[in-house]
């Protein structure tokens, strides 16, 4: 029982947590980057953190997709797939193209975060 619970932490819980917080993290980071105020030390730290989060927001989804893509054949085995259920459950159709679905999950949120951070008078605000 404990081993089953522990298995969830490798890596389902973390992936799920990242997916849930992905939007907020990306949104806050992009917003801080666009605001660009570095007048105080706290704001400078926030600016650096926003760079890091933005980079991770682009890299981590690609990394997860790459891992799943590389292990796709192995993941046809149920036990091997269990650790990535959060991502793989939606692509359980024996086709690598199904990776587009979780990819779209991240892309949609990344795009939303960028659009929401646009200045109020930007022409593209109506997108």
């Amino acid at each position: 029982m404990i081993s089953n619970t522990l298995k969830q932490f490798r890596f389902n819980v973390y992936i799920r947590f990242y997916m849930l917080s992905y939007f907020d993290l990306t949104f806050f980071a992009v917003m801080k980057y666009i605001e660009g105020d570095t007048s105080t030390n706290l704001r400078k730290i926030a600016e650096v953190v926003s760079y890091i989060i933005m980079t991770l927001s682009a890299v981590v989804p690609l990394f997860i997709m790459t891992v799943v893509c590389r292990r796709f054949e192995v993941m046809k085995i149920k036990q091997a797939k269990e650790s990535f259920n959060t991502v793989v459950l939606k692509i359980d159709k024996q086709s690598r193209w199904r990776l587009v679905v979780p990819g779209y999950f991240f892309f949609r949120r990344l795009l939303t975060a960028c659009l929401l951070s646009m200045p109020i008078d930007n022409t593209f605000i109506f997108l």
Partner: protein, 378 residues
């Protein structure tokens, strides 16, 4: 010898004609009459060019979300007089975004005088509108509030009309002259003018200055108004707006209840949390609809708050980084009450949640280490 000593500059370059009569005082009627001309040398003074006038014009201040606005006069004004005679001197109205369709201005619900600045120049007001939730919703088109000085009060020189049939001199009571030395006193009305430039333009367009004109022009005096965009309004004295606000606040708790209820039911039935995750994921995307459409009813934000996951736990007051409580990413976030402190708080809570997950992972790992593998629990 007769000496003439003009006592005022206003006699300059003027010829006075009179007749000098010499008559013997006690004689038999010797009497001579001489026509005389006296010319006072100097350059003619043009009253409207030479005198220092106190000109009164006003500018309008921005209208805030609570309907507060102001007008600032170029010189001190007699506030109690203007306040008491406001309706006789000004029209206040709205031209909304559909003005071209109905070609009709909209009246205000109320127009309240809220005070005057210490220098007696800035008058403060609070406007309330019918259906305030319908105003300020578009970005590229504007609903506008107009403060319009009535066109028929002034003559061509910028003075209040002084005709026997149309006497408006009563409104000269609006003038006030303030100096450090004497304080505020009622000034010389002849040397005070209101919007003289517009009045002078009307004069040029009217007979006799404009020989082609048949009628007196009031065109420029009809444009003595100032206007400001009405941005989104938060009038919680409005019944509908207050109802929707309360409804949104309650919806927050209903939606929180739905999430918690679903979590408990799924946990009890032990069938996995996929429906819950799916619900939350879609809630997250729905949540930013009002923020996407930045003009969409921010007072309903509470109804969408639970959808924002990290906003789910946002308190009305920020608990962290209080110094950023008045700091907003832009005006829309201000409308939504989402200051930097609150957003940072949401981010901090996400981070804490991540820390809790790591902590639980460590605890379970430790439990797994100390639990024998061959038991049911292990």
């Amino acid at each position: 010898m007769i000496s003439f000593r003009p006592s005022s500059k206003w006699y300059a370059n003027t010829t006075y004609s009179f007749r000098l009569v010499l008559q013997e005082s006690d004689g038999p009627g010797v009497k001579f009459s001489y026509p005389m001309d006296v010319h006072v040398t100097g350059t003619t003074y043009d009253f409207y060019k030479e005198e220092n006038f106190t000109d009164y014009t006003f500018e309008m201040g921005a209208l805030d979300r609570y309907g507060n606005t102001s007008i600032t006069w170029s010189n001190p004004i007699n506030y109690p007089f203007l306040r008491d005679n406001w309706d006789a001197m000004f029209d206040v109205y709205i031209k909304n975004v559909t003005i071209r369709e109905h070609n009709q201005t909209m009246p205000l619900l109320s127009w309240e005088h809220t005070g005057v600045s210490d220098d007696n120049k800035t008058m403060h007001f609070r406007a309330r509108f019918h259906d305030p939730y319908m105003l300020g919703l578009l970005t590229k088109k504007s609903d506008r509030l107009y403060i319009h000085f009535k066109y028929d009060l002034l003559d061509f020189d910028g003075h209040f009309k002084r005709e026997s049939y149309d006497d408006k001199t009563y409104f000269e009571g609006m003038y006030l002259n303030c100096t450090d030395e004497y304080g505020c006193v009622k000034p010389n009305a002849t040397l005070s003018r209101v919007f003289p430039t517009a009045c002078a333009t009307d004069k040029e367009k009217s007979p006799p200055d404009n020989k082609d004109a048949q009628f007196i022009s009031t065109k420029e005096r009809e444009k003595l108004y100032k206007k400001k965009r009405i941005d989104i309004q938060f009038d919680f004295e409005n019944t509908e707006m207050m109802y929707m606000r309360k409804f949104a606040e309650k919806t927050y708790w209903y939606l929180c209840g739905v999430v918690v209820f679903q979590y408990l039911m799924l946990a009890m039935r032990n069938i996995g949390f996929l429906p819950l995750w799916t619900l939350i994921e879609y809630m997250q995307l729905c949540a930013f609809i009002p923020l996407y459409n930045f003009r969409m009813i921010p007072y309903l934000y509470d109804a969408f708050k639970p959808f924002l996951v990290s906003h789910l736990v946002l308190t009305d007051e920020a608990r962290l980084l209080k110094e950023f409580e008045n700091d907003y990413f832009n005006i829309n976030y201000d409308y939504f009450g989402l200051n930097i402190a609150k957003l940072a708080q949401a981010l901090a809570l996400v981070t804490i949640l991540g820390g809790i997950i790591i902590f639980i992972n460590i605890v379970i790992f430790a439990a797994w280490m100390v639990t024998p593998r061959d038991t049911k629990v292990g």
